[in-house]
Amino acid sequence: MAQMSWLLAVLFLPLFPFSMIFNLLWQRCTASWLRVILLLLWPLPGLWLLQGVGEIPVAIQGWALLSAVLYAFRALVVREFSIWMGFVAVSAWALLWLGMPATQSAVALAYIESFSLPLALLALLVAEVEQRHGAAYAGVVSALAANQPRLAAMLVLAVLAVIASPVFPAFFMMLANIASSLAQHPLLATGEMVVWLLWSWSAMRLLQALLVGPAVVSGHRDISARRGGMYALTLVLLAGFGLFIFGGQL
């Protein structure tokens, strides 16, 4: 593979420091629809470039693991939801370099989408929070569970889907990815597990800061029942895909 292609691949399936470009772009885009498009499309050119490349060199796999650990670790103290999403997206996409055979583009695509879809949903929900509170920042926003219970519930479920909780697609894809890494080297698989653990840590730390607190009269309304139902339906569909489509690949 030509050097240029490698360079583009590490930009679109972002590895540090190229991942900073994605994060910069992500933080500049404030429109939710643009963020959704970015999440769904950004890694696809990288995936396309990797097709037919064969074995990924061990050095790049090590680089990818370090990159994933770095962003998962940095996400621990993030208090702004959209920055956290950018970090987790970069961390999750980097893991594709470890486990997924580059030749099996369908499996790799499934892996990417298993994270991108819930992230896209989360982007919409975060936009709802920002619309009401001006920011989705822990400290500025609190007591979401008491003040906007419907929005809080959807936010919780979307975050669980992003951090690869059962029975969402990312859970099965993480298992497949780790199994694949384990076949190459147990340290890669252990590293992936550490990344998974760090996502869980940072997610709950952030979520907790937003959800907990006594109810206050704020004047911000909860999402409507119809909109809540649509988000819930999307999450149910995601779980269904997880169980029957992504899970079926194990």
Partner: protein, 559 residues
């Protein structure tokens, strides 16, 4: 009939969906829907147990047709189903009134139903994927149950401790599952256990023996779930959650470690040293948990540490090969600890009106430091505790088998019986009575019942859960050590325990605390009052990590 048993697991999930969907219509009545379906689930679980009692070796599996998605009804799964269904039913009935004034009443029952369903799924999981899903989900659901009160910062803080410990425990289980899949190319537990039995010497990463590696990983996963020492700090602090959740957690969820070790018994039977480590970890946890329990002045926290000690005891039983005894222990512990938690509120309420401390000689001795008025026959009691197991041992040697002394498993069971019985004596002895002979009679009777009961019940559980006699013998053999070392250990532990009792006896006679080691005792008390600095160490580590992450983010401009 067997397909109907799937309803045992399905009903709690159905209940959760119905409550969530109809919450605005049902309002407070959603609890009754939950309880009604929980009753049905419990009855069906009892039917499953009834069927299993007829032929405990029978394993009924339902497959989804995929490479995973197998539900497995075997003796262990069915027994655990009954326990979980019963405890969660009681908790739900209790919650109807207890939670009535809390916000999120329907949400609470939804989560409770989901938790019950997930626990049931965990115990009947027939493949590694279902097991992993249920194992992981228990942590997620417990986090939200403990944080039910969305206004309470402290409840969420400690729920987070639980969450992160549980997630830490997920890591080794995932690795164990993937190693097993890699070695045997199947997710099905039955297939894996069969293939492992055929090729027990299978190796895995770094050319290590598969059984040893998987056994170790499964044990670590069980430690996190069952609050073993160094992974225990979440347990005593999760008391800010609703009381019914504490009851469910202490009566059911923490026991998952013991269940997991039992589920992987066909792996542990092929291991060498793993069970010895399991024993040591359990022993350390039992001792430390009990010591910490004794120093608490908060009833709920004391119960938390008591659970930790009991979990240590349960894991220790697995470590000596008494797997089925661990199941008996977790059931017994689940029932009494559930009862204690559910009645803790009433005790606290009564204590507010009256401290309930009898102004008897014991009170005078402990609180007012006055000498005990009469000399208490501790030595006679201690002698009894030694004589009864010795008689049982001789009787077994004479009636059951000539080589009874050689069976480490049997001696271990008897040893547990002795410890439990002896403790019971001293607790009973504390009871006030005017008739000394009656007290003696009760003590001897209860001691014999405990020793014999422990031995007989553990045998019954052994036969039910592990009907294959050869397998049972191999389990004890896997945990066995050299006979000489075993005898030395039994004698040593006996001496430690008896000397502890004698020391207590002589201290009571002298009616005071041993002043010679006052400084050492004070330092020890300071150590345990800080809970061995484990939480401080974790807090320090977490702070350092977060400070490191903050520094990195600043350097890298948050991109």
């Amino acid at each position: 009939m067997y397909p109907l048993l799937l309803l045992v697991i399905a009903l709690p999930f159905v209940s959760a969906v119905l409550i969530q969907g109809l919450a605005h219509r049902l309002q407070r009545r959603s609890a009754y829907l939950s309880v009604a379906l929980a009753w049905l689930s419990f009855v069906l679980a009892c039917v499953a147990l009834w069927l299993a009692l007829g032929d405990s070796a029978r394993v009924v599996e339902f497959s989804s047709g995929l490479s995973w998605g197998i539900i497995r009804f075997d003796a262990l799964g069915v027994l655990m189903c009954v326990v979980i269904a019963a405890i969660s039913l009681i908790v739900r009935i209790y919650s109807i009134r207890y939670m009535i004034e809390e916000a999120g009443y329907a949400r609470f029952f939804t989560l409770l139903d989901l938790m019950s369903g997930t626990l049931l799924l965990l115990v009947v999981a027939g493949d590694l994927i279902i097991l992993l899903i249920a194992w992981h989900l228990v942590g997620v659901l417990l986090y939200f149950l403990l944080g039910h009160d969305t206004r309470s910062e402290s409840a969420w803080r400690y729920a987070f401790w639980t969450w992160i410990t549980y997630r830490f425990g997920d890591v080794p289980l995932v690795l164990a599952a993937l190693l097993l899949f890699q070695a045997f190319d199947s997710w099905s537990l039955s297939v894996i256990f069969e293939r492992l039995a055929v090729a027990p010497q299978t190796t895995t990463v770094f050319d290590l023996p598969l059984a040893e590696v998987v056994g170790t990983l499964v044990a670590v996963a069980a430690y996190a779930r069952s609050a073993q020492f160094l992974l225990h700090s979440w347990l005593p602090y999760t008391m800010s959650g609703p009381t019914p959740v504490s009851a469910l957690m202490h009566a059911g969820i923490v026991n998952a470690g013991g269940f997991l070790i039992n589920r992987f018994a066909p792996v542990f039977v092929e291991t060498g040293a793993v069970l010895h480590w399991v024993f040591l970890v359990g022993l350390a946890t039992a001792v430390i948990g009990s010591v910490l329990m004794l120093t608490q002045n908060d009833i709920k926290k004391a119960l938390g540490y008591s659970t930790m000690g009991q979990m240590g005891f349960m894991v220790m039983e697995c470590g000596v090969g008494a797997f089925s005894l661990a199941i008996f222990h977790l059931i017994a512990h689940g029932l009494f600890k559930g009862t204690l938690f559910l009645s803790a509120g009433e005790v606290i309420g009564k204590a507010r009106q009256h401290d309930g401390v009898p102004k008897d000689p014991l009170y005078g001795y402990v609180v007012e430091k006055t000498p005990a008025p009469t000399r208490k026959p501790w030595l006679a009691m201690a002698m009894m505790t030694l004589l009864v197991p010795a008689l049982v041992l001789f009787a077994a040697h004479w009636l059951v088998a000539q080589d009874f002394y050689q069976k480490q498993g049997a001696v271990v069971l008897l040893f547990f019986g002795w410890i439990t019985g002896a403790q019971l004596i001293f607790v009973t002895y504390r009871m006030r009575t005017t008739n000394l002979w009656r007290l003696f009679g009760m003590v001897i009777a209860s001691f014999v019942i405990v020793v014999l009961g422990y031995t007989l019940i553990s045998h019954a559980f052994d036969v039910f859960l592990y009907p294959d006699e050869v397998f049972r013998a191999r389990l004890y053999a896997a945990a066995g050590i050299d006979v000489l070392w075993f005898d030395v250990l039994v004698v040593l532990v006996t001496l430690v325990i008896v000397s502890g009792w004698l020391r207590t006896y002589y201290l009571e006679r002298r009616a005071g605390v041993d002043q010679r080691c006052g400084g050492a005792w004070l330092a020890f008390y300071a150590l345990i009052s800080r809970e061995f600095y484990v939480n401080d160490a974790y807090a320090w580590l977490a702070r350092r990590l977060e400070a490191g992450a903050s520094r990195l983010n600043v350097w890298l401009r948050w991109v």
